[in-house]
């Protein structure tokens, strides 16, 4: 089994398809409605499979080829999608070849985002595999003259059970292709899965580990030029004028052109362009608000105190509850903007020609990238091809296609094939950041420590809804008010791994911990009491399944020996996001008076685990990511410009700082739900609550490293 990245044109792709002639070729549509019927069809070997979207093929040599359509950015979809098909097909995994499908608008949901790919495609992929299996069995039964019911399939063979006769899939492929496609097929019982649920290695390992050109930045085309853009360093400014005379005379520089967004330098090599870009003389002028982080701090307070909020949810009589409260807890939590920093910076190849546009590179939503380029150049979409490369990380940044559009713009201006590259500084200073946010939570407790009232007011920058108003603790509290306020800013913002919940979860879970303390109750018990209340009779709408939430909570408490350990300080957190449930307990010790996170227990219920190895990576990576940004992610603006611009002044978590992780997946019997994001949101809260146990100090803002728990003992920061 091996994988190959397709670096071929659409034409090559079709040619490649006809190479498989003689075998069984199945295509299936991905779109929502059609997905239900999983329209599957067998193509005559000679017919060019133009009408097909995604397909698997079986060659006469027995090689099963499975196309995986979604962008691969480290979530391991290139392995898990084909595993699902192959399992239902009963294919021998060693004979499976995986290809990244080219972008084709007939694919549905050919994108990476929202932890939604596996949940969305699960029934389709299974049906595709099962349908091919049924046709292979029918072909074998026909050849043997036996009833299909006497045949079964295993490891790429059809077996006639009574006689023990066997035929390989390769031998049957051509005949199977002539069998009418069954309209209904039986899917496997979960207990019969052979691949699904096991740890299958990343199909791209060999290519990655030997340095093959897989990523957008690795793409090369004879005659292409390299381009970089100097964008205004401050949000709220634009280019007024520039002088490129000196730069144009620099070695290797072909052209300097103004773009919508800055000044592009185009040349023969990356280094020449990088140097020339630094030598550009550009003056900028004001085009909008020029903001600093201090302005945001002020705006947040003003808005929380006096701003006009949109009510997202209201249950009961909140004012009365707070008036009658024995105790009120009121706390604010704030986070900074955050850059995504995928390790491969933004880049894209574009060649705008007379008769169309060729695009190659890494992006999370190829469909919208193509639409954006079509709009910019006024070229119809069907004249634009887009080939996906592997993505060196995404984290949400590559949902935005600004860099794809830039590549096309520069190519059209200089009339040449161009690879546009962002430097790390460009990436950090021109990001589509996680918005800074501030939350104000208020809880009303009665004299028995029951939470009788709850208020949440969130304010974000360019973020329309800062809340997840139907998540926990909604449903558990009779009187509740959730409001959001949006504040516009010229600083570009967008989705960042686990949008909104990447900070909201921490704030909420840290707050509930503090409320439990005020109520004189154990933090886990306090949450379980609330959840039991939801279970008995939920107040209004709840988006989460309360039983699954209770289950992960109890399990993580048990696995971590909650409340029973000496010498470590434990903090608990649980969160529901992207349809999955993750509970965590963080363990902190004090070293030289400072808190150090030593271990994190995680229990995840993401329904059926597809690839155990990949699932572990997603959860462990999510925890490392969540902890790293909660502790270290300091990102500030001064007069519209980011003050951190590379890894020397923007700290990311590194190996010596990672905690031990104890991870358990619940076998809940549900279909698979998201996993690329859900492990991240709970981590900040678990860590904050453990730090509180260790130091008596609550964490009210991120990054924690800026709080006096870390700075006071020596007066010096550890970084």
């Amino acid at each position: 089994m091996e994988s190959t990245q397709q670096h071929t044109s659409r034409r090559d792709f079709l040619k490649w398809s006809t190479f498989t002639a003689g075998g069984l070729v199945l295509g299936f549509k991905w779109s929502g409605a059609e997905a239900q019927t999983a329209e599957v069809f067998a193509a005559a070997p000679s017919a060019a499979p133009v009408a097909m979207n995604h397909y698997l093929s079986i060659g006469t040599d027995g090689i099963v080829t499975i196309f995986s359509p979604n962008p691969e950015l480290g979530q391991n979809i290139l392995t898990s999608f084909p595993m699902i098909v192959a399992d239902e097909l009963d294919a021998d995994w060693k004979q499976v070849k995986v290809l990244q499908a080219p972008f084709d608008k007939r694919f549905d949901r050919q994108l990476t985002g929202g932890s939604g790919a596996v949940p969305h495609s699960w029934p389709l992929l299974r049906k595709a595999g099962a349908t091919a299996r049924a046709m292979l069995i029918a072909a074998a039964a026909k050849r043997w003259g036996v009833p299909e019911s006497e045949c079964t399939a295993s490891d790429s063979f059809v077996i006639h059970t009574p006689s023990g006769k066997k035929l390989g899939y390769g031998e049957l492929a051509t005949e199977a292709a002539a069998i009418p496609v069954p309209t209904t097929v039986k899917l496997k019982d979960k207990k019969d899965f052979k691949l699904i649920g096991t740890a299958v290695k990343n199909v791209a390992n060999k290519d990655i580990l030997t340095g093959k050109p897989l990523y957008g930045l690795d793409f090369y085309r004879e005659g292409m030029l390299y381009a970089m853009i100097q964008r205004p360093p401050s949000f709220g400014t634009k280019v007024k004028s520039f002088d490129a005379t000196a730069v144009k005379a620099m070695p290797g520089i072909i052209d300097v052109v103004q773009t919508q967004n800055g000044v592009a330098v185009v040349g023969k090599s990356t280094w020449q362009v990088m140097k020339a870009k630094k030598a550009l003389k550009i003056t900028y002028e004001k085009s909008g608000n020029i903001e600093s982080s201090a302005d945001h701090d002020r705006i947040f307070l003003e808005q929380l105190d006096h701003g006009k909020a949109v009510v997202k949810r209201q249950d009961g009589d909140v004012e009365a509850a707070f008036k009658n409260a024995a105790k009120v807890v009121k706390k604010d939590y704030q986070c900074p903007f955050l850059p995504h920093n995928p390790l491969e910076p933004m880049n894209f190849f574009a060649h705008v020609k007379e008769d169309g546009v060729e695009l190659v590179g890494p992006c999370q939503i190829p469909g919208s990238a193509r639409t954006a380029v079509s709009k910019l150049l006024n070229i119809p979409e069907d004249k634009i091809t887009l080939e996906l490369t592997r993505l060196g990380g995404g984290f949400g940044r590559r949902l935005y296609n600004d860099y794809v559009v830039e590549a096309a713009e520069v190519s059209s201006l200089v009339k040449a094939p161009v690879k546009l590259i962002w430097s790390r500084e460009d990436d950090m200073m021109g990001g589509t950041y996680r918005s800074a946010m501030r939350y104000r939570f208020e809880a009303a407790l009665d004299d028995k420590g029951n939470m009788i009232g709850y208020k949440l007011r969130g304010v974000g920058m360019n973020d329309n809804n800062t809340t997840r108003e139907h998540n926990f603790p909604s449903g558990a509290i009779d009187n509740l008010l959730i409001e959001t306020i949006n504040n516009p800013t010229p600083i570009t913002t967008g989705a960042w791994r686990a949008p909104v919940t990447n900070f909201l979860a921490y704030a909420e879970q840290a707050f509930i911990d503090e409320v439990a303390q005020a109520a004189g109750k154990d933090p886990v018990e306090f949450r379980l009491e609330l959840l039991e209340k939801v279970k008995a009779k939920p107040v209004g709408r709840t988006d989460y399944n309360v039983n699954r939430m209770i289950d992960v909570t109890k399990r993580v408490a048990e696995r971590s020996g909650w409340g029973k350990k000496k010498g470590v300080f434990q903090g608990f957190s649980v969160y529901y996001s992207h349809r999955s449930y993750v509970a965590q307990v963080a363990e902190v010790v004090l070293e030289k008076g400072k808190p150090v996170v030593k271990k994190i227990y995680a229990v995840a219920d993401c329904g059926q685990v597809v690839n155990l190895g990949g699932a572990q990576q997603q959860v462990m990576g999510g925890i490392v990511d969540g902890m790293g940004h909660a502790l270290y992610g300091k990102f500030t603006f001064k007069e519209g410009a980011a003050e951190q611009n590379n890894f020397h002044n923007y700290r990311l978590i590194r190996m010596k700082e990672i905690p031990e992780i104890d991870l358990f997946f619940v076998d809940s019997g549900f279909d698979p739900t998201g996993l690329g994001e859900p492990a991240l949101p709970p981590t900040g809260g678990a860590v904050a609550n453990a730090i509180f146990k260790a130091t008596g100090k609550r964490m009210y803002s991120q990054p924690f490293l800026e709080t006096d728990v870390f700075t006071s003992t020596s007066g010096k920061k550890t970084f």
Binding site: G74, K201, L209, M274, L343, M620, G622, D625, F647, I661
Partner: protein, 151 residues
Amino acid sequence: MALFKLTVNGKERQVDVEADTPLLWVLRDSLHLVGTKYGCGVAQCGACTVHMNGAAVRSCILPVSAVKSPITTIEGLSENGDHPVQQAWDEVDVPQCGYCQAGQMMTAAAFLKTNPKPTLEEVASAMHGNLCRCGAYHRIREAVLVASKKK
């Protein structure tokens, strides 16, 4: 522009570039050896790590004019992709996005030559300079230990 002679992965190569061109861009743009990655350009992430005379160096800040010894990149770490580090990386199934992994492996391979039987803490210290944005650190650390147990 000037001519520079280099030995890369055992082969003599000649490039015509400016003297201050970092080895990283010579490898990537001039020699089309793109296994070595750009992540920061300021010696902070380790994605560009290669071997010079067997020692790990950050090719993003090493001008081609300062390269006087043979260079090994990920493409030359082994002939068939079976260096103990590469084998261990596959066995442990390390890569997520994979972008940092060439740099991680080059750092690990050079480190294991100087410390063939490291402890977990020694591995973490040696690998601390290599960023993995996907957070694959647990498996990277495990893979270095697995590699140290191979012949």
